[in-house]
Structures are given as C-alpha cells and as structure tokens.
C-alpha cells in the first residue's frame, strides 16, 4: 500500500482503525503517521474549546417580549436582568475577603450546570455534556496562590464538587494562557485582548460561584 492509497481510505478508518495492510502502512510510514497524529490532535484540541461567548442581553429581552406577545407570560412578571428581587430562599452571604471576590468571570457556565445538579451535601456523578471531554486535568499541586486557596476551601466545604472546580479552573487557566500568548504575539490585536478579558471574566465568575457554594 502506498501513501496515496492510504490517505484515500483515511477518512473512513481514522477513528475505527484499518485493516492489517493499512495499519502496517501507518506503522512504517512517517509522513502518514505524522498526518494522522496531527489530525487527531486537532480533533482533541477542538473538544477542549469551551463555549466562550454570551449573547447580547437583547436576546433575552426579545425572548421575554415574544413570550408576552404569545400570552405565555404576563407583562412585567419576569424581572429584567439586574433588577431581581432578593431571593428569599438564599442563604445569607458572608464576605470571604481572603479570595478577593471580583476577579473575572468566564467558562463557568459549564461548571454551573454541574453545580445545579448537586443539591446540598449530596454526592453524585458529574453529568458531562456531549462533546466535552475530560479536558485539562491540572493536578491540584500545580495551582498556586489564590487558585490553591480556593480549591482548598472548596475541597474542605464541598468535596463532592471539588473535582469539577479543579477541572474548570485548569481549563480557564489554560484559556488565559492561550489568550495571553495571542496578545503577546500581537499587542495590537483587539480580538485577542477581548478574548483575554473574557477569559478573566470567566475566572471571576468561577471564584464567585465557589464562594457562594462554600458558604452553605
């Protein structure tokens, strides 16, 4: 089998494996082996792409208005963003100054989806969403400073969600590093700056949620 023949069947065997002849070619051909490695690497990196963008607030406004027009909700019944009444069931929030709430907010909605499936003090299995792999498994020992302190508090107060926080924090730190690299490579790139700010925003949200959860 030559490279041309191998690469023609590659789309159909890359995930499932080929017949002995195809596998032998892959073992013996550096060029095809590199190609397969690169394509698989691209696919693996794609799985780690977190949802990064929030829709404009007008999207919710339009949803609200449509539902009111259809008579599915009453006008004025749904509070607008940022003007919500005090949630009566909420536990009183205590200040937790050591972590300095207000860092940034970012890819935390994935974590939020995990958290809302954990009623207080119940162990459970994380519900992974389709397409999201185990992602970056940054060992706890690689976190420093405030990240380490946050994870320490969470593992003390809410051990059942500690792993999820660790995963999310690792992913966010990785995003920040990637975005910072892009900014460093081209300081005039406004899009890279926006991505970096967004990544920091997500980290702030993670901290804020971690604080709320740990104060049960």
């Amino acid at each position: 089998m030559n490279c041309k023949q191998f690469q023609e069947v590659l789309p159909y065997i890359i995930e499932t494996g080929g017949n002995p002849e195809e596998e032998e070619h892959l073992r013996s051909c550096q060029a095809c082996s590199d190609l397969v490695n690169e394509l698989q690497y691209i696919a693996e990196q794609a799985k780690l792409l977190l949802p990064m963008h929030d829709p404009h607030p007008r999207v919710w406004s339009n949803v609200e208005q449509s539902l009111q027009r259809e008579g599915l909700i009453r006008e004025g019944r749904t509070p607008r963003l940022g003007h919500l009444a005090v949630i009566t069931e909420a536990a009183p929030r205590r200040a937790w100054t050591p972590l300095g709430l207000g860092m940034a907010t970012a890819a935390v909605l994935a974590l939020a989806m995990v958290l809302v499936n954990f009623p207080a003090r119940q162990p459970g299995v994380l519900q992974g969403s389709k397409g999201v792999s185990a992602a970056v498994q940054q060992p706890a020992t690689q976190f420093e400073g405030e990240d380490k302190a946050l994870l320490g508090e969470i593992s003390q107060h809410r051990p059942e969600v500690s792993s999820a926080y660790q995963d999310s924090l690792g992913q966010i730190n990785s995003y920040i590093a990637d975005a910072q690299k892009a900014v460093d490579a081209d300081p005039a790139d406004a899009n890279a700056h926006a991505l970096l700010m967004d990544a920091y925003d997500q980290k702030a949200m993670l901290y804020e949620m971690g604080t709320v959860r740990s104060l049960d």
């Binding site: 159909y12 019944r77 909605l109 389709k130 995003y175």
Partner: protein
C-alpha cells in the same frame, strides 16, 4: 444577580427549575436561560459564523424550549435535550438559506479541487503539540460553511457520524469524508498561521 446565580443562590436544582418552568414559572425559565445561554449561543455562532444570525437562532431556540419544555421527560440530560433542539433550529435555518448539500457522489468520487492534499514525502512542519485554542477558534471560523458545520457537530459538540448523517440527510460515509476535509483544511490553516507568525519574528 445574574440568571445563573439565581438558581444556585436559591438552592434550586436544575431539575426543580425545569419543573417550575414547565408550570409556567417565568423566573425559573429565566434561570435556565442564564445557565444554558452561553453554550447554545456558542453553538449557533460556531455553526453560522455570524453574530446576528446566532442571536436570532439563540432566541428561537429558547422560544421553542419554552413551548416544548413540558414534553421533556428526563430520558436524557436536559442540556443534551436542549442542545439537540438548538442544533435542529440551526440546521433548519441553514436549510432555508440553502445549506451546502453534501454531495451523494462525493463518497465515490472525491472532488479534486477540495479533496485532501496528499502528504507524500518529506516530513515537515509538524503541528502536534503547538496549537493554541485562540488560533484554532479563528481557523474554525474561517472554514467553508459545509466543513465547519460537520466539524462543529462532531469534534466540538460530540455528535457521532450516524447522528450527523440523520440530521444532515447524508450518508455516514459523507459525514466522515466532510469531517476529514475539514480537519485537513484546519491543518493547512494552522500551519500557514504558524509560518506567518514565524516570518514576522
């Protein structure tokens, strides 16, 4: 307080919020919107490559969610169910626009102008280990629409080829072929980007 934090702060589980939303509780629905808006919007944006379209489709997806939430039985995870609903909204929209159809003949006779480039010979410019997600995201945005849709559905959102084939109305072989072309195109774009950066420095 943000919509997502509402659900968390009230101690409502997502399951409780869903049940309340089924009963017409608009605040519970708003909380669900807050939890899932980013993922739905990101999906719409990645598949369409257009902010305005993505916003319209996100809106439509959540309107459909509100109308259909009573039918959610919990047989799958809510996020999975909502996600599938959003994908269908996007695909229906793209079909109305004239979604680039995957050629039924393509599996038999790959088109030469956009077939995979044959890597025969010298080993050069190895990519593995050097991609950062910012550049990957940009490269995905610049994929041709047909390639981008399949790539987003399979490699980012995790749908299997049989599911994609059913959604797109094509064969499993075509789905695999298109995915391969998408990955090859991304490989070329990423290598080009890396070469351009190296040339600048």
């Amino acid at each position: 307080m943000t919509q997502a934090k509402k659900i968390i702060a009230t101690g409502l589980s997502e399951a409780e919020a869903i049940e309340r939303a089924k009963g017409g509780d608009a605040e519970a629905f708003e909380g669900l919107y807050g939890l899932h808006k980013r993922r739905v919007y990101s999906l719409c944006l990645r598949m369409t490559g257009n902010t305005a379209e993505a916003e319209d489709l996100t809106q439509e997806a959540f309107l459909q969610l509100y109308r259909k939430i009573a039918t959610f039985r919990g047989e799958s995870a809510f996020s999975t169910w909502l996600h599938r609903l959003a994908v269908n909204v996007v695909l229906m929209h793209l079909r109305k626009k004239g979604l680039p159809e995957v050629s039924l003949d393509e599996a038999l006779e790959p088109q030469h102008e956009d077939g995979p480039k044959k890597d025969i010979g010298a080993r050069d410019n190895v990519l593995a280990g050097s991609i950062d997600r910012v550049n990957l995201g940009r490269a995905i945005e610049s994929l041709p629409p047909g390639y981008r849709i399949i790539f987003v559905l399979h490699d980012i959102e995790g749908y299997e080829h049989n599911e994609i084939a059913e959604m797109m109305g094509c064969s499993i072989g075509n789905s695999k072929s298109q995915l391969h072309k998408a990955r090859m195109k991304l490989r070329d774009l990423l290598k080009l980007s890396r070469a351009e950066k190296a040339a600048r420095h």
